[in-house]
Amino acid sequence: MNRRTGERQFALALFLPALLLLVVTTTLPLVYLVWTSLQRIDLSMPWLTGFAGLANYAQLGGDARFWSSLGLTFVYTGSTVALQVAVGLGLALLVMQVKAGQGLLRVAAILPIVLAPVVAGLFWRSLVLAPDFGILDFLTRALGLGSYNWLGDPQLALVSVIAIHTWQWTPFAFLVLLASLAALPPDVYEAARLDRANAWQRFRHITLPLLRPAIVIVVILRMVTALSAFAAIFAATGGGPGSATEILNLYAYRLSFTELNLGYGAAVATVLLLITLAVSFGLFALRKAR
């Protein structure tokens, strides 16, 4: 046996256990998810269980709550990712100018990231946003802006859950972009400064193009996180009031485990799965093209 085949067999022996485990724990359950979405499985009416073909998918078309949650998913994902990148990049550029205390800032940035999303949701719901109790209510009243029921009003609730997600994950974008900024070659800036480029021109024509790979990665990772967001919204609003913050994750959960309509819930989850895969592949193709 020559060395090359030997190495290949060795590599396979090391890789196959993990591969098999992943196929069994992720891919097979997803096949079962799609199969479930073709069934009628309603645990509150178990006698009706049986193959339903595409009936669940046909039902989606006329389901206003589904279309609303699909729209909310796009709003939630789009706005949280855009905010994280914009705020994270702005803060990273700002912090690059601050010489002292960068270590302290990094520690502060770690806190939201290590917090369980369910705790982030609970803390915001009680300590920050609760009427007559939360600090934000106190602040808006002290500033003479009046009192708001942040999680009780449909539109404010959507703003609130977007704010919670942005609060928790902007540090991630900030830390990655700060590290990329710090790694940029300083001599390009010197050259630009000699050419009398102003701050905006330097940012627009030097910093931004050099940062593009890092920004693309941040966008990909943040989108995946936003598309699988669940616990913080669940803890803060439970998808409500009504279905005002019910993104697809929440809708699939409520259908499956509150209304016990698992077949239909599986159809909604399958749609979400397809969206996530399409977005991921699209972004990766974009990354390769650049």
Binding site: Y32, L94, G101, L111, F133, L175, Y253, L273
Partner: protein
């Protein structure tokens, strides 16, 4: 120039306040008596009490069993994940693995799956084989996010090790195993530690799988905290104490490993890993 510096420092300080506020305020709230909690405007000066911690740790609403559950689930998940991920990452990063690109892409794709798409089939499967509310059931499900994440993070660390170091040891099959054990593992110690921390952290913080697939036997601390608010709607101080106690391990872990986490985030991000 002065004004600009003041503005910059002000901006940085504001950012720190916003990021640390909920946790610090939670800590303060957890030390208040129920009477001080309800004071309006919120009080900053008050007589601190450890009564809430006594309640949530040793009282009727104890979360100690939940902390134990979380340690078991997160510990087992981390151990199993590393056992499978280290060899796989080594094969992906350093060896002539057949279909290497496709394999790497498959691992990456499994990392992006929305958890709600997995929790529905697992609910049905685990119910059928009697594994709901068991440690083996929950750990199996946790592998779905822990394993792909760990493989990708480790690959990025393994790739940084200079190739010459292992070339010498690469003579025969036994030599390769020895190279992994004696060259790669010691060199990647830091990366492995970061991976262990991240996997443990993500498992500790997980909520959706735990709330659907757990139960009275296996109830992790995140689920216990959530139940707290629905059961004891107005007892904010106790909720805060439970949350602080439940989050203390990950906050301490995060602060200790602070530098490594930043590096882990960036390495993982630059090479395409990283999640949550």
């Amino acid at each position: 120039m002065r004004v600009r510096n003041v503005l910059l420092l002000g901006g940085a300080a504001l950012m720190m306040v916003v990021w640390t506020f909920p946790v610090l305020w939670g800590l303060l709230t957890s030390l208040k008596s129920e009477r001080d909690v309800l004071a309006y405007p919120p009080s900053i000066l008050f007589e601190p009490t450890l009564g809430n911690y006594a309640d949530v740790l040793f009282g009727a609403t104890t979360i100690l069993p939940n902390l134990v559950s979380s340690v078991i689930v997160a510990g087992l998940t981390t151990a199993l994940t590393m056992l499978f991920a280290i060899p796989a990452a080594y094969a992906l990063s350093r060896l002539d693995l057949p279909l290497r690109k496709a394999s790497g892409f498959y691992v990456l794709a499994t990392q992006m799956l929305p958890p709600v798409g997995l929790v529905i089939p697992y609910f049905l499967i685990l119910r059928r084989i009697g594994w709901t509310d068991t440690y083996q059931g929950l750990v199996l499900v946790y592998l779905t996010f822990a394993l792909p994440f760990a493989v990708w993070l480790l690959v990025s660390y393994f790739e940084e090790i200079p190739r010459e170091m292992e070339e010498a040891a690469l003579l025969d099959r036994a030599g390769r195993l020895r190279a992994l054990w004696h060259v790669i593992l010691p060199q990647a110690k830091g990366g492995i530690a970061v991976t262990v921390i991240f996997v443990f952290l993500n498992s500790w913080n997980e909520f959706l799988f735990a709330v659907v697939l757990g139960g009275n036997t296996v109830r992790t601390v995140t689920v216990a905290m959530f139940n707290f608010i629905s059961l004891e709607q107005t007892q904010w101080a106790r909720l805060a104490a439970a949350a602080m106690a439940g989050m203390a391990p990950v906050i301490v872990l995060g602060l200790i490993a602070q530098k490594h986490i930043v590096k882990g985030l960036t390495v993982g991000a630059v090479k395409g890993g990283g999640r949550r």
